[in-house]
Amino acid sequence: WSAPLKSVFVTFPGDIMKNMTDTELAEGYLKKFGYINTLKRSGFQSMVSTSKALKRMQRQMGLEETGEMDKSTLDAMKRPRCGVPDVAN
């Protein structure tokens, strides 16, 4: 058996993307594209649970609605896309 590769991650100067955990990535994505913290018309802030937000995102993206940060959901979040939110605020 070959020894497993030992990856070392470095911080590249000028790299805008920070190394994020999957949870940070998902939370950022759900917020950025309007799935959580949707500002209601009447002015109050509605905290939608992450699970509900994930289901909403999964429905929009045509993924299985698990409400969990599974691999296909995370993969979808990493794909290049338009910056316009999916859920209008």
């Binding site: 805008i16 594209f33 338009c82």
Partner: protein, 589 residues
């Protein structure tokens, strides 16, 4: 498909656009062409035309920028967010921004257009062979002037067709030097530069002076990217340096080592460990045409679709032979209609799904049908009926009879489940179905010959199949084609002091509220008499709406009070839950 809240769209059909700046990734002519083709995607299926402006303010201002680029939504470096655009409107609305930390191509790797040479500006052909060696990028081989070049056919040796690749040694773009080439070395703030630099700028774009001294001459331009240049990082525009050393190990090609995101990168000097100069390796890039077509969809009023194959789906994916998905076509034609050969605009030719057994306000379900053609006996349109299997609502392009050009209406009411807008002898009707189209104008006198041109109020007694119309102090009752009236509104028990009835609200079976001034009365329709205990003050029961509303009507379980071009919408709990424009929200202009 989805439209933005309020169905935001352009009022004018001739939409203007302006390209503010360019990405260094492609030749200007390729960028112009990509944008023009992206607009054509939409103009092919709508009556919209797109005119390019070269100065001033256009409806759609197009720009490239990196990270913080002047609006509240910064880009995020390479990949991730590619672009964004704003829905139609004034100011930044309608504008489209493209992230210039992306590598913009035509979707399949470097799109390199040649200059000079003998290929008349043809694109590079990769790979090409030159003296027995295959090249997948532009090369300086065979030249002493260091100008990169490529063959425009597969084999330079046999065809001898070539051109020069984008290079700062050949030309610059934008700036103030009319595209002159860089002059190296040049002096900037007393310091000498041998290559393009980002010094002096905070937007990351590489520039050079086009004379030997910028401090004196102030002549500059931006450097085009070479196809071999790295993207992003801190050495944009520089080529990879192979081999390079990273964490003590030597690399002969781009690597994803050191990164958690799997992206390929390289060092632009022989040692990353020493110099820390790096960038991402050129890849397929993103198709500027496809991304622009998507963004222009937003700029025209389409929100994201959840159909994966639709252009307006939020994720990017490259398709070779692009054609607009039916979902996108339906969306844009919902907003703008489509154009027929004879110049007649087909308004809102929308395939809708409706179960005919359900009431007209129910949610769409199973069956497909097209909007019903205007009845020929009630249309002013000169157009005859069309193919019944693909019938559509026609509307002559006559601005004087365009409901969208009107500021307000004499009255708005629901007849036979459809919203009707009355104004000066004409009326328009809007289907209550989701995505229903506006039809009209129709002539009031043709449909209801006894009525005057100005109708102040109207309501339908559905049970008795009667239509009540009020104008001034008189009213008429239509049952089918037979009419009773005019009669004085005093006969109903309304005081002779009121000048007109301005609104009518159905309240349960056989009761209708009639509004005038700040008061309302309840009419017992069967008895044809006003109930006791009236008038009452409107604001005592309907709080938060204008006391001088000129139209009051009920539509889809909401009560609407209109004043001028606005409406106040009240829900069943008598809360005003929305204030909006009649034009955009009800007429769907």
């Amino acid at each position: 498909y989805k439209t933005f809240d309020g169905d935001l769209k352009w009022d004018n059909r001739d939409v203007t656009y302006r390209i503010i700046n360019y990405t260094p990734d492609m030749d200007i002519s390729l960028i112009d062409d990509a944008f023009a083709r992206a607009f054509k995607v939409w103009s092919d299926v709508t009556p919209l035309t797109f005119t390019r402006l070269f100065d001033g303010t256009a409806d759609i201002m197009i720009s490239f920028g990196k990270a913080d680029h002047g609006d509240p939504y910064p880009f995020d470096g390479k990949d991730g967010l590619l672009a964004h655009a704003y829905p139609p409107g004034e100011g930044v609305q309608g504008d489209a921004h493209f992230d210039d930390d992306e590598y913009w191509t035509l979707g399949t790797g470097p799109a390199v257009k040649t200059s000079y040479g003998n290929a008349e500006g043809a694109m590079c052909h990769f790979p090409f062979t030159f003296e027995g060696k295959a090249y997948t990028t532009c090369t300086t081989s065979g030249r002493t002037d260091n100008l990169p070049w490529c063959a425009t056919t597969a084999d330079y040796s046999s065809d001898k067709k070539y051109g020069f690749c984008p290079s700062e040694l050949l030309y610059t773009f934008d700036g103030n030097a009319d595209g002159a080439k860089c002059v190296f070395p040049f002096v900037f703030l007393g310091q000498e530069y041998d290559s393009c630099t980002t010094e002096g700028r905070n937007d990351g774009y590489r520039w050079c002076a086009t004379t030997s001294n910028f401090d004196n001459d102030k002549k500059y331009g931006f450097c085009p990217s070479r196809d071999t240049s790295v993207i992003g990082g801190n050495a944009e525009g520089e080529p990879c340096h192979f081999p390079f050393v990273f964490l003590g190990k030597e690399y002969d090609s781009c690597t994803s080592e050191g990164r958690g995101d799997g992206k390929l990168w390289c060092s632009t000097t022989n040692s990353y460990d020493d110099d820390n100069k790096w960038g991402f390796c050129p890849d397929q890039g993103y198709s500027l045409f496809l991304v622009a077509a998507h963004e222009f969809g937003h700029a025209l009023g389409l929100d994201h679709s959840n159909i994966r194959e639709a252009l307006m789906y939020p994720m990017y994916s490259y398709v070779k032979d692009f054609s607009l998905h039916e979902d996108d076509i339906e969306g844009i034609q919902y907003l703008y209609g489509e154009v027929m050969k004879n110049g007649v605009i087909i308004q809102n030719r929308i395939k809708m799904r409706k179960c005919p057994l359900l009431n007209p306000f129910s949610q769409p379900t199973l069956f497909s049908f097209f909007r019903k053609q205007n009845n020929t006996d009630e249309t002013d349109s000169p157009d005859g009926p069309t193919d019944p299997t693909t019938t559509a609502t026609t509307r002559p392009v006559d601005p004087t009879k365009d409901a969208c050009k009107l500021t307000n209406f004499d009255t708005i009411t629901v007849i036979d489940g459809e919203l009707h807008f009355f104004k000066d002898g004409h009326y328009w009707k809007m289907s209550s179905e989701r995505n229903g189209g506006l039809q009209g104008p129709f002539s009031i006198s043709q449909k209801w010959p006894a009525l005057p041109a100005v109708i102040d109020s109207a309501f339908e007694n559905i049970l008795a199949r009667k239509l009540y119309f009020f104008s001034g102090t008189r009213f008429w009752v239509y049952t089918g084609k037979s009419v009773l009236g005019p009669r004085s509104i005093e006969k109903l028990g309304l005081p002779n002091s009121i000048q007109k009835v301005e609104g009518a609200l159905q309240r349960g079976k056989g009761k209708v509220l009639l509004f005038s001034g700040e008061n309302y009365w309840r009419l017992d329709v069967k008895a044809q008499k006003i109930d006791k205990g009236y008038p009452r003050y409107t604001d005592a029961v309907f709080g938060g709406v204008p006391s001088d509303a000129h139209d009051v009507f009920q539509y889809k379980a909401h009560i609407y009070f209109c004043r001028d071009r606005f409406y106040w919408r009240m829900n069943s709990r008598r809360q005003v839950d929305r204030v909006g424009y009649v034009k955009y929200d009800l007429l769907k202009c």
